[in-house]
């Protein structure tokens, strides 16, 4: 090992530097080209949705679609708002979304704490069982739950839209992974000083895993936005209908049974806007929350 072979053959250094630099730039350009192409592919449906939402019904049905509406129909948006009475639906969705997010957060935190920190018999079996429920196609729950909810007399109330979905297994899993990363010594130290579980949870564990909790809250709110089959079944009156019920084609049916697609597209765009804004502002938290949880499988 003593002889010191010169790894760099006596190549012309500047050529190698130029070559490396060019390679670096090429890689950068390639990365940006790839990202921009993928971004366009992801963006195109949105552009087409917005484009369609601004067209008249006839223009929408024209055989050669136009890439920009001939005369812009902002009225589609006001009509969508009126026809699907988005105002009321929007309010319902926010009420359901907020309450279910808050309640489910409490349950998620408590359950994750129990799974992460406390030892009890049958813990792993219970957790495995919990994960198994994610594998079952939800359609079958719907019919049986309809019966339960009906027997409880919750039909057409906010409770029926909130209670059945308070337990979200994925978020318990996500938070448990995050709690597991907090060293156990902290818990034992707190125990020694006599802090109760709740205080420890409140004072230590929650602050430490705040990013994950924030991203869970945001993702849970979005979930309420997209739920579709269950609300459609159990909340049919306008007082409790959710956004997604209002978006269905039938909401925009005219007498001859043809859907006013532009108005429907406008309604969907209106509905997606708040979620989009939420994401734009809280993007950092969502990503940090997920990365902080460090899903270790």
């Amino acid at each position: 090992m003593s002889e010191n072979i010169k790894v760099m053959k006596q190549k012309d250094i500047s050529k190698v530097t130029r070559h490396a630099k060019a390679g670096g730039i090429a890689a950068k350009v390639l990365t940006y080209v790839f990202l921009v192409i993928m971004a366009l592919i992801v963006l195109f449906p949105f552009y087409w949705m917005i484009n369609s939402s601004l067209k008249t019904v006839d223009e929408y049905r024209m055989s050669t679609p136009t890439f920009w509406p001939q005369h812009v129909m902002w009225s589609n948006y006001s009509e969508a708002f009126r026809v699907a009475n988005l105002g009321r639906l929007f309010l319902n969705t926010v009420i359901v979304g907020v309450i279910s997010t808050v309640l489910s957060l409490v349950i998620t935190v408590l359950s994750a704490f129990a799974f992460a920190r406390l030892q009890f018999k049958g813990k792993n079996v219970l957790f495995a069982g919990l994960l198994a429920t994610m594998m079952i196609p939800g359609e079958l729950f719907t019919i049986t739950n309809y019966g339960t909810v009906n027997d409880l007399g919750w039909m057409n109330t906010y409770t029926v839209l909130i209670v059945p979905f308070l337990v979200s297994v994925f978020y318990i899993y996500l938070l448990r992974q995050n709690f597991l990363q907090i060293p156990n010594e902290l818990y034992l130290a707190a125990k020694v000083d006599g802090t109760s579980d709740i205080k420890y949870l409140w004072k230590v564990m929650i602050p430490l895993s705040l990013p994950t909790i924030i991203s869970i809250t945001i993702l849970k709110m979005m979930g309420a936005w997209n739920s579709y089959i269950w609300p459609q079944l159990v909340a049919t009156d306008d007082l409790h209908k959710l956004i997604t019920n209002g978006l269905r084609g039938t909401a925009f049916l005219d007498e001859a049974g043809e859907t006013n697609y532009p108005a429907q597209m406008a309604a969907v765009a209106l509905v997606s806007l708040p979620l989009f804004l939420v994401f734009v502002f809280l993007r950092k938290y969502i990503i940090r929350g997920v990365s902080r949880s460090g899903i270790k499988g």
Binding site: K6, M8, I13, T17, K21
Partner: protein, 361 residues
């Protein structure tokens, strides 16, 4: 292969985006690492030593100045093209690969003319492992090794591709005290055996002085002094270098020179011919004190610590703690109130009060 740094500077944009002013991490760094030598970059944290190391490795871009490997200008050359071996402070071993795979990893990247066959790679890896004495841990995962063992694997990985220069970033800071001594000897031995030009960064002056052929003391990005450890220790260019080297640290007093004589407080402790009268800082090495009842310097005794090989006398002068180390066969009367010393001239340094520059006499 020698490493030449000419007027290398490094400027970082300041932490917060809005403010325009920048941080000068390394300022006009000029130094040549002689071929085959072990050089220690030394200084308090944040003095730019690690930044300099990373500029040599190519991981950090140079803001100004040039870097040469022998006579190749590698300033703009990418890290991987420089043939550099780098050992990180917390080792950066790939957690999912065994020790053998970690060591083999750099070899598998060699392309073109340098490409090796499987057996050659394996042979080189085993040789590197044997060099750092971890050849029986080849199949372990990094998580199963102790700090010291991980350190040695990191070194083996850096050496296996026979780099032109080996760079170590605070190699010992993550080890416990006992292991630190043993590992620094290891590094010295490996460097000697391979004869590879090596630069390592540390904030621990004892570690730097004990194994370096040359040390470079830095402060806020500026080189304070370059030289052999003993020379820099014995001939500090300013107060900062004097205070930085040596444990226990140098004792510093306020003093003045009057017509050729040096006074600490009232005591005239030393003749300093040729130095004009002025206020000065006086630095005295702990081993520069001689326990002498008739000594010129008088201090009030605080306590005595027996350290076996010698005795440390803790005393106090004008409110400053004075720590001296004298030979163990000197008997000191612990109950005495005062203690008097005479000073060994070569262990006393005078510094300009304003510029803290050394004044020779």
């Amino acid at each position: 292969m020698k490493v030449v740094l000419q007027n290398v500077t490094k400027v970082f944009p300041s932490r917060n985006k809005k403010s325009k002013e920048t941080v000068l991490a390394v300022d006009d760094f000029t130094f040549t690492v002689p071929d085959g030598k072990l050089v220690g970059l030394l200084g308090p944290s944040g003095c730019g030593k690690s930044t300099t190391l990373y500029m040599i490795s190519g991981l950090q871009k140079v803001s100004g100045g040039k870097i040469f490997f022998d006579d190749d200008d590698v300033t703009d050359l990418a890290a991987e093209k420089r043939g550099v071996g780098l050992v990180f402070q917390n080792y950066a071993l790939y957690p999912h690969l065994t020790v053998r795979q970690n060591i083999l990893f750099p070899l598998q990247n060699l392309k073109g003319a340098d490409k090796l066959t499987k057996d050659e790679m394996l042979d080189r890896a085993v040789k590197a492992a044997r060099l750092v004495q971890i050849d029986e841990l080849m199949d372990r995962k990094p998580s199963e090794l102790s700090g010291g063992q991980q350190q040695r694997v990191a070194i083996a990985r850096a050496l296996v591709k026979m780099p032109r220069v080996l760079l170590l970033d605070e190699p010992l800071s993550n080890l416990d005290a006992r292991l630190r001594l043993q590992t620094r000897e290891e590094i010295r031995r490996i460097q000697r055996e391979t004869g590879i030009t090596t630069v390592f960064v540390t904030h621990d002056q004892e570690e730097a002085m004990s194994i370096s052929d040359l040390i470079v003391v830095m402060k806020k990005g500026v080189i304070q002094q370059i030289g052999k450890p003993q020379d820099v220790y014995d001939d500090p260019v300013n107060l900062f270098v004097a205070k930085f080297l040596g444990t226990p640290p140098i004792n510093v007093f306020d003093g003045k020179v009057e017509n050729g004589r040096l006074f600490i407080g009232e005591d005239a402790v030393l003749d300093v011919p040729g130095v004009e009268n002025r206020e000065v800082f006086v630095g005295v090495r702990p081993e520069g004190f001689v326990y002498d009842p008739a000594g010129a310097l008088s201090c009030s005794l605080t306590g005595i610590e027996v350290m076996g090989r010698d005795i440390s006398i803790v005393s106090e002068k004008d409110g400053k703690v004075v720590r001296s180390i004298v030979n163990s066969d000197v008997t000191v009367d612990p109950s005495a109130k005062d203690v008097r010393y005479s000073l060994k001239p070569n262990k006393v340094f005078i510094f300009n009060k304003a510029t803290e520059e050394r004044i020779c006499f």
